[in-house]
């Protein structure tokens, strides 16, 4: 059962464009993490959000946690070729901290 639905699965854009990736669930999570993964490497954590309605910014990346803590979004402004990679959202629950539920990922390609 896929508890976290991530969309879109594939995104191909030109350098300078903006984009948003969505992560939705019918379950409530105590925390939501976003990772970026490059080929042949493990995922690298970008951000963790824990409060409903929370917004965090990391340079050109903006992360938002939904008010009900069931959904999240990642917005990239003025995308660059270096942003290319697989973006994964993952939800954690306070009853089982070590067990993250991952979305299926979004493959982003930014063309120069």
């Amino acid at each position: 059962t896929q508890l976290l639905e991530q969309s879109p699965q594939f995104l191909s854009i030109q350098e300078g464009e903006n984009l948003t990736v969505y992560c939705n669930s019918s379950s409530v999570f105590s925390s939501l993490q976003w990772y970026r993964q490059e080929p042949g490497e493990g995922p690298v954590l970008l951000v963790t959000v824990v409060t409903g309605g929370e917004v965090k910014k990391l340079k050109r990346l903006t992360f938002q946690f939904g008010d009900a803590r069931k959904d999240s979004s990642l917005h990239i402004t003025a995308a660059q070729p270096g942003d290319t990679g697989l973006y994964l959202c993952a939800g954690g629950k306070s009853t089982s901290y070590g067990k993250l539920t991952f979305g299926q990922g979004t493959i982003l390609t930014v063309h120069p």
């Binding site: 824990v50 306070s94 067990k99």
Partner: protein
């Protein structure tokens, strides 16, 4: 080491053979996780170790899968009588403690069962 180290990087095995995958977590990290990533899929939780507590094995897909963590450090994931559907990238991660602390992933072991 500076990061989580996994070995081997790649493993090709024949169907029916047993395999062992190794994970060296970051020194001092008490929490260790194993995940599996199939092509085009997100990560699937397998097992979680936290200190001396009993591991959470709820994600292991069958009794052919087992994992140990010796001395609170190195972990070994064992797959017995491998099947073709076991082919995937097996990722290990560690963190200072379970929960909201950042998890650092290794580069993974790509397992191919032929």
């Amino acid at each position: 080491g500076a990061g989580v180290s996994q070995s081997p990087s790649n493993k090709v095995t024949e169907k029916g053979k047993d395999v062992e995958l190794r994970c060296d977590p970051i020194s001092g990290h008490t929490a260790l996780y194993w995940y599996r990533q199939s092509l085009g899929q997100g990560l699937e939780f397998l097992i979680y170790f936290q200190g001396n507590s009993a591991p959470d094995k709820s994600g292991l897909p069958s009794d052919r899968f087992s994992a140990e963590r010796t001395g609170g450090s190195v972990s070994t994931l064992t797959i017995q009588r491998t099947q073709q559907e076991d082919s995937a990238v097996y990722l290990c991660a560690s963190s200072l403690a379970g929960g909201r602390t950042e998890a650092f992933f290794g580069q993974g072991t790509r397992l191919t069962v032929v």
